[in-house]
Symmetry: C2
Subunit: 192 residues, 2 copies
């Protein structure tokens, strides 16, 4: 489980083996089965998580019970509720597994410690946050400017792997359109 992480982090940073040993010393490994919750609304998100295998989603619910997906996190990606994690405030979202998944967890104090001792990790984390911001801004732009079909096509283009592993309900919930709309778009594309 940690092996995947080690491979990943080595391709994204120039950390030495001692650094990685230190990171490992603080890591918690966790396996979750499909549908298992990693974070529940109202809780404080105690962990920043690396998904080494599987697929995880972050979603919020509304009063009417509808679910809205903020993020998919497949293998080799990070997930957490940044606001809750950084500020130790109750989260407004949920994280659960869409497939049996393997994760590595660190608390905020783990990361504070690691950042203080591994400058390269700190730099990597900053890059990650920055790139995250670029991506979310792009998503806002897509949200406010694109048609449903454009959003659907973009999603397939940007996340082909996720697309092939989740139901259309999930895609609809991520895009902010109804399943019916996706059905119609797919039908129209079939005819062409």
């Amino acid at each position: 489980m940690f092996a995947e992480f080690e491979t990943f982090i080595k391709t994204h940073t120039a950390l030495c083996d001692d650094d990685i040993k230190l990171i490992r010393s603080r890591a918690i490994e966790k396996v979750v089965r499909r549908k298992e919750l990693l974070l529940q609304e109202g809780e404080i998100c105690r962990y920043k998580m690396f998904v080494s295998k599987g697929l995880v989603r972050t979603f919020c619910t509304r009063d009417d019970g509808s679910e809205h997906i903020l993020q998919f996190s497949p293998q080799n990606s990070w997930t957490t509720d940044p606001e809750s994690f950084d500020n130790l405030t109750p989260s407004h979202c949920n994280i659960d597994a869409l497939e049996r998944s393997e994760l590595i967890l660190w608390t905020k104090s783990d990361f504070d410690y690691l950042f203080a001792n591994i400058p390269g990790l700190k730099a990597y984390s900053e890059k990650l946050v920055a790139r995250n911001l670029y991506l979310v801004r792009k998503r806002v732009l897509s949200n406010i400017s694109a048609t449903a079909e454009e959003k659907y096509d973009e999603f397939i283009k940007n996340y082909p792997d996720v697309f092939s592993r989740v139901s259309l309900h999930m895609v609809a919930s991520y895009l902010g359109v109804s399943l019916k709309t996706l059905s119609r778009i797919r039908q129209a594309q079939l005819i062409r």
Copy 2:
């Protein structure tokens, strides 16, 4: 012009007068009139900008000429195209002034230098990026889960000052709905 910035930064950080002097030594002051462009699509966004007076917007255009507003930046806020600024890549958006505005500009190398010499400024900047991410994620959630009326009400609640200074076209363009839809919502709220 720099006076407003000094007041602002002193309330948000614990920088000393020498730090501020250093920051000032790299700053460029700029006044723009209404409608003047600060960044044009295709250019590299050379500056991170502090708006000390006025109101500025970041927007993208589509092939059909439609404009979509990513961000309003009133006095005492920061603006830039983060991706273009960080990576020195051509920007996909435009920044222009909605009112006569006064700004302070720093280049990336200015900031690199200042960050290296003023740890408190670096820490402040990181907080800013993090908070930005929280906000943009909230906006995505709103985009994909709220009705047009909810988005409209949220906007007024979150940005009352901006709301009172921009046209409904601008609000519509920020929310990703048509002006007509806003008109209808306002009409319906009047009747209640």
